[in-house]
Symmetry: C2
Subunit: 133 residues, 2 copies
């Protein structure tokens, strides 16, 4: 794993720490501020633009009981763009959600520009790293 | 909309034309060949690498009755990377799926590197373009 991949995985961790910690300020900071952003919560239609996306996170983080953590995260970096695929686990139960998180480099830091999480019909058989191609 | 966004939306259309046309050769061609690729079908765990991803499409395209088309597609381009958000409709019913499609420029052409489609709990109220930030 190279430095860029590590940095992107760190940004991905920051997103989930903000999520699990109900930390709106940190959540606001991890999302890009210089580019369009978008977000597809599980079951939702897409939200486009900073206003709707951050309003959704403000509402979600106000609710209790969500302790989402990333599992088996894999980063794919190309220049100043990247995306991460990971499972989303909660409370030590097998993960039932999987996410695509898209990042862009802004001022030297990786910021989230898009998130889609969706339901799996069954938990994954294994959660591990492996060859990607 | 600029030329890059148009070109990315054309690549996105090509993906769905291959899908609707059960055209495995075209599907194989629209996916990147020089980079890792990954794919999350609705309800599935992620598939990583060209072997598993293309095997899944081979199986899906062999089945009849899937006439998926993109609706309300929006392209977000940054350098040689891009992603598209669109609904996936079928047979003129309201769309119940929404997708994130990630593209990268390979040899001057936009190729798909990642696809995630997921179920919505209800169809979108509107399918339209609008300001993104």
């Amino acid at each position: 794993m190279n430095d860029d991949e590590l940095a992107v995985l760190n940004a991905n961790d920051t997103f989930y720490q903000a999520f699990a910690g109900h930390d709106y300020r940190r959540m606001d900071d991890i999302w890009a501020s210089e580019r369009p952003i978008s977000c597809i919560h599980p079951g939702w239609s897409p939200l486009l633009g900073r206003g709707p996306v951050m309003a959704s996170w403000h509402a979600i983080l106000r609710s209790e009981g969500l302790k989402v953590e990333p599992l088996g995260a894999r980063a794919f970096v190309s220049g100043d763009s990247a995306y991460v695929i990971c499972y989303e686990g909660a409370q030590a139960r097998p993960p039932m959600l999987v996410a695509t998180n898209v990042f862009a480099r802004e001022g030297g830091a990786w910021k989230m520009v898009h998130h889609q999480a969706g339901q799996m019909s069954q938990p994954p058989e294994t959660i591990a790293s492996g060859p990607t191609n």
